[in-house]
């Protein structure tokens, strides 16, 4: 018996004749037919990807580690807690979320939430809470979860004035509801400002963000002695500078991390970025430094390893909580409501790479179950193995301890 073919080939008779190809392709097709050879010759020179840019990762690895250095106190351990009542009727339930926070923390540390506090903090710490405000209200870090964290810190002796809710951009924090009214006494800080009016072209007046000497008004917020260097130049246009503060080969860490905070908690959301995820390590890898957009294409997920390898993150990011109360399985990292779903789940880890690997695998299965085409190429998970090689986390699924409470 002849085996059925798994496909129907187009055969040699391509369904479009040359003239029809021109119709199908419209003007582009016509242009390509006219100039195809020269275009392709040029592409042959351009199509090959450039080699991976050099970075200063070796400088980070030379710095002696501390007790809190990644992967932290619980390498490879990921705690998960789920409660269907957390987002009942699509509205966050503060009490349920608070209970989930305390339960998840206990599952991670083996101690009650309050007994866990001294494992990670002292009352003299200045504690940051890195949120993700993108997609406010839809897929941003839930305010109710941050409230639970602030309550826990406060009742264990951290005064509100020493709690800093932060992100790279100040205006995004406001949009996502992280305001002084909602978090009285806490500091709400962006590493930088960006003049939206100038960014959107509403005004040619750049004076609100650009100094007469051509520098960004937020340059003082970044530490010129602490930087991630990559051999990639940032674009030189004003729009880029407005958004990224610097545009050379240096991505400086915010002084908030290097000078002010003594510890911080990372609270990303559960969402994808293309075939990869945009959770714990991306939230901090692209959130702790400026001048990042230049890094997306040539280094992408490696940035999620190399930026956290520097002491400002490696030795201070003592806890990660991935907010999966509402999650997004496709269309990310931007908010795409169609692909969001109520997941009612929180994940806890000191090891952000083990955490992200667990969540990556969960998201891949979710994407498949929703009929999304999934490219499972190893390049989307290689950074976990790279992180393990650098001693920053566990990237081997067989070693990871995924515990549900």
């Amino acid at each position: 018996m002849t085996k059925q073919r798994g496909y129907r080939s187009l055969g040699t008779a391509f369904p479009f004749k040359r003239r029809e190809f021109m119709k199908v392709g419209g003007a582009a097709g016509v242009g390509l037919l006219a100039s195809g050879r020269s275009l392709l010759a040029a592409q042959a020179q351009q199509a090959a990807p450039p080699p991976r840019p050099k970075t200063n990762i070796d400088e980070a690895l030379k710095v002696p580690r501390t007790k809190y250095s990644l992967p932290g106190l619980f390498p490879g351990k990921v705690a998960e807690v789920n409660d269907e009542k957390a987002m009942a009727d699509n509205v966050p339930n503060r009490d349920v979320i608070k209970a989930m926070f305390e339960s998840g923390l206990q599952t991670l540390t083996g101690k009650t939430a309050d007994a866990s506090f001294p494992l990670l903090f002292t009352a003299s710490d200045v504690v940051g809470i890195k949120v993700n405000p993108v997609g406010p209200g839809l897929i941003s870090t839930r305010i109710e979860l941050v409230e639970a964290v602030v309550d826990w810190l406060a009742r264990n002796g951290i005064p509100n004035k020493n709690i800093v809710i932060w992100d790279r951009f100040d205006y995004m924090l406001t949009d996502a509801g992280f305001t002084a009214e909602r978090f009285p006494g806490c500091r709400i800080e962006g590493l930088q400002t960006m003049d939206e009016a100038a960014a959107e072209g509403k005004t040619q007046d750049n004076s609100r963000w650009l100094r007469p000497d051509g520098t960004h008004v937020s340059t003082g917020n970044f530490d010129l002695d602490a930087y991630y260097w990559a051999d990639v130049e940032g674009p030189k246009d004003l729009a880029y500078l407005n958004q990224h503060v610097y545009n050379g080969k240096y991505s400086y860490f915010g002084k908030l991390l290097t000078k002010d905070l003594t510890k911080f908690i990372n609270i990303p959301v559960f969402k994808n970025t293309g075939n990869a995820i945009s959770m714990a390590t991306k939230n901090i890898g692209y959130g702790a430094v400026c001048n990042t957009n230049r890094l997306h294409a040539p280094l992408f997920l490696d940035v999620c390893v190399e930026v956290p390898a520097f002491p400002a993150v490696r030795d201070k990011m003592v806890l990660n909580i991935t907010d999966g109360l509402r999650a997004q399985y496709d269309g990310g990292p931007g908010p795409e409501a169609k692909f969001t779903y109520l997941y009612n789940t929180l994940f806890f880890a000191t090891d952000p790479f083990a955490l992200d690997l667990v969540c990556h695998n969960i998201l891949v299965e979710k994407r498949k179950s929703m009929g999304v085409r999934v490219n499972e190429h190893p390049k989307y998970t290689e950074y976990f193995r790279y992180a393990q090689k650098l001693g920053l986390g566990i990237g081997d699924p067989a070693v990871i301890q995924h515990v549900k409470s």
Partner: protein, 317 residues
């Protein structure tokens, strides 16, 4: 095609049709021109205020205008940092973002003007997922209570409601209708006709204009490994057969020489995780990291690429 233009106050608008011949004519011609102008203005008025973007807030009662943003070309990173590359690859001109408020409720309209209708189709197919069309929207769309995703001509639109628990779908539809009145329709290329119908999984169709879109389907290599250059367009779709699911990518090139050049380039820069198991003059077979097989074959000026095949037998057919 009529392009959006910026008015002095920053609003998007369409140029009104010309009503004058341009060259000075007789008094009668001038009168006729004035009459025509009056008729056209009246017609525009009768059709409401829908010819401008962003629509005024009277698309439904009690709404008011909120913040408006415009992002052009590379500034798209300011709006969707990390997700802009795909738009830019397909061909992006600008996006208008207008927020509307009613009490605590908020709607956001996003109108992406792409370089052509193919670019808009490409983004729409990447973003629409399984289509669930919302009635009363006079354009291809998919939607649910929090978001409408719409394609018309070279425009890709989102209407978002991020107000938890609020049922604003009917007002979202009204806003979408008003916005759609202001953008022209335009046909995209029949790229999806390249895909054989038999076995094609409905809703799996995509078009590809560069490496970002291709990576969402499969990693054949880094960079622009198919020589698409942001101008050539490939079609892709998933298929089901007795042997299992598989994926087809069809890349039409201008001529056989171009297709041969692309095949040679792909073979030379094939992803290191793909191991070639069989080679022939106009193509090759490979095994991937999941023990699935793929086949690349040039047929005239077309590259036919079959992926995720369950056996070498399938690949060699």
């Amino acid at each position: 095609m009529t392009a959006l233009t910026d008015k002095a106050d920053g609003r998007f608008d369409f140029p009104m049709p010309a009503v004058n011949g341009g060259r000075a004519g007789t008094i009668e011609k001038l009168k006729l021109g004035r009459i025509l102008a009056a008729v056209l203005i009246l017609a525009a008025a009768v059709r409401g205020q829908g010819r401008e973007l962003p629509p005024a807030a009277d698309f439904a009662p009690d709404w008011s205008l909120g913040e408006k943003l415009v992002f052009v070309k590379g500034n798209l990173y300011d709006f969707i940092d990390g997700g802009a590359d795909l738009y830019l690859e397909f061909g992006f001109e600008r996006v208008l973002v207008q927020r509307y408020k009613k009490g605590e409720a908020e709607l956001t309209l996003e109108v992406y003007e792409m370089t052509d209708a193919d670019a808009a189709l490409g983004i729409y197919l990447m973003k629409c997922g399984v289509e669930t069309p919302v009635p009363d929207i006079p354009a291809r769309n998919t939607g649910e209570p929090a978001q409408l995703t719409i394609l018309k001509g070279r425009y890709f639109l989102h209407v978002n409601s991020f107000s938890p628990g609020a049922d604003l779908l009917s007002e979202m539809v009204l806003l979408a209708r008003r916005a759609l009145e202001a953008v022209a329709d335009e046909s995209h290329g029949r790229w999806l006709d390249l895909l054989p119908v038999e076995g094609l999984v409905p809703g799996s169709e995509r078009i590809v204009r560069g490496p970002n879109a291709l990576q969402s389907i499969y990693t054949l290599g880094e960079g622009d490994v198919l020589f698409l250059g942001g101008r050539l367009i490939a079609a892709a779709g998933d298929y089901r057969s007795e042997s299992g699911p598989w994926t087809l990518v069809i890349v039409p090139y201008p001529d056989e020489a171009a297709a041969s050049a692309a095949l040679s380039h792909l073979r030379a820069h094939l992803d290191s995780y793909l191991k070639v198991t069989d080679e022939r003059g106009d193509g090759f077979v490979f095994k991937d990291f999941k023990e699935k097989y793929g086949a690349v074959e040039r047929k005239g000026r077309v590259l036919e690429i079959r992926l995720n095949l369950s056996s070498a037998f399938d690949a060699l057919q």
